[in-house]
């Protein structure tokens, strides 16, 4: 079990290392416009990349010495040791639908889907009530923002109904 914990930590430190390397790579092949002077646009990214890589190496050392991160506490209940992948996937999946739906189906449908999905993952088991709340929420937000605050939100396929 302990090795599994380290696995996540190592992946985190590894991502940081990759991030630093990515900045290094991007900066090295950057097209520097002529006339950028002695102090061009590459110095600071190089510093940031070096800093990021140094910190990630520090993290690796820290992890191998058994110094693991303390998961953050939350106001909403006890923190558990094992990730609840089912709930996590449901919430993440609902969020993923939003960029796909917002321009194709419109704000109201996209918001209804994400609202319904997240509520369901968080334990709203009464589907009809959940659906009703989701639809009403989306409509109220849509109308108050487009009509009340003149914020432009995509109407999508419901445009024909309006």
């Amino acid at each position: 079990m302990k090795s599994k914990k380290i696995g996540g930590e190592l992946a985190f430190a590894g991502s940081l290392l990759i991030l630093g390397a990515l900045v290094l790579f991007d900066t090295s092949r950057m097209l520097v416009p002529p006339g950028s002077g002695t102090v061009g646009p590459q110095i600071f990214p190089y510093l940031v990349a070096g800093f990021t890589i140094a910190i990630s190496i520090g993290l690796f050392i820290q992890i191998f010495r058994g110094n693991l991160g303390v998961p953050e506490g939350t106001e909403f209940g006890e923190v558990i040791d094992k990730t609840d992948y089912k709930s996590l996937a449901m919430v993440a999946g609902s969020m993923l639908t939003y960029p796909i739906l917002i321009e194709r189906a419109g704000f109201v449908i996209a918001t209804t889907v994400v609202f319904f999905g997240v509520s369901f993952a968080y334990g709203a088991k009464n589907l009809i009530k959940n659906l009703a709340v989701s639809v009403i929420f989306s409509l109220v937000v849509y109308i108050s923002f487009t009509k009340g605050l003149n914020v432009n939100l995509p109407a999508g396929i419901l445009k024909v109904l309006a």
Partner: protein, 498 residues
Amino acid sequence: MSSFNALMDGFAGALTLNNLLFGLLGTILGTLVGVLPGIGPALAIALLLPITYTVSPASALIMFAAIYYGAMYGGSTTSILLNTPGESGSVITALEGHQMAKRGRAGAALATAAIGSFVAGTIATGILAFAAPSLANWAIMVTAADYFALMLIAFTTVGTLLGNSMLRGMASLAVGLTIGLVGSDLQSGAVRLTFGNIHAIDGIETVTVIVSLFALGEALYIAGRAKATGWSLIPMKGKAIMTRQDLKRSWKPWLRGTAIGFPLGVIPAGGSEVPTFLSYAAEKSLSKNKDEFGKGAIEGVAGPEAANNANAAGALVPLLALGLPTSATAAVVLVAFQTYNIQTGPLLFQTNPDVVWTLIASLFIGNTLLLLLNLPLVRVWANLLKIPRPYLFSGITAFALMGAYVANNATFDLWIALGVGVIGFAFRRFGVPITPLIIGLILGPMAELQMRRALQISGGEVSALYATSISKVLYLVLFVVIIGPLVWNFKKKLALKK
């Protein structure tokens, strides 16, 4: 005397019926969102920021000031009734205030928090009005190299003082600095880290990053890593009033809290955690009834709440005079100013005096509106806490995504938001603090600008970065900030071994 006159002009500009209505709306919205569990002041302000864009500049400022104070006050209501500190500055309020509420003294706790916040906010804004211009006058002499040193200090203090591990704070900072690099470099026009995406050329929306880190990160984290336990919501009975006895016990802690909170806001001490804890410790040691602490002592709410508010106002001093944010909330405020086209920093008081003074007057007005509105309406706010948990999270998620989309009406921003949400999840999971990322994201580009300015003047000579006496002092401070905690930890380890 000139500051005073300028402030009066500020009031004249801010006090129109129209502006007052926007102030009222801002207070209501700020408290409404701030009260919701899981939403701290930084997120509340970031979520509501787009609404202020639709109104005129003066109205936007007053609405913004009202949201700012409303969000902070809303957080304390949640702490007291629900024992859920929305941010580190409310931990103490949650501790002591919730105990008061359990003993049926919720009304007194809410009242001392509200009036204490008002007293502290008013005094602190008063000091701000006089301190910020003097600091700005002095800061005009500060060179680019000094600025760069100052920013390094801000990075270090925010990175090391927050969270359990200095290295993890620095990891957070590194990610923030990297996100800040994305887009075209303002000085040379070179394109960085865009990987051929045209949307990325303008850089990544700061507000989107902040909102996604807090809101989407939290929604993912709680779904994946927390077990639902019941909330102990204390129903709000009666009115939010204090007895004569309560007032007698509260007024000194208010003033002491202000005295502790304000100076610690001015220096980059990493937010409101330290001042609220210090104020609590001070009240506990000064109190005649020490045994009451931990069971609901009113001093333990009055002092820290005042310290929290004074601290927030104190953070505005370096923000206005130097352009340096020292906490997540201050960073959001800076983003707001940038979107109103206000360049904070020493020149602000010379180039836009009317704007600054309108803002400071707005802070006074927002604070007053809040007191007038909240004490009578406290039961309405308390009812908001009854929103079922599933709908609360889906609402927060939906608003965060909407905010990300409307910033540019582009799905590109949504993909960024989701990516940042994943970062927020990972940070929480691995105990990495979030504030350093935000500070790095906002201060990174400014630090680069100052560094390049300093080096350009010297023709690339690196010693120019530490040539002035101010910068030498600052690097000494930086050294102490880095070495201090290390020595401290080493000593603690030695003591533990014995």
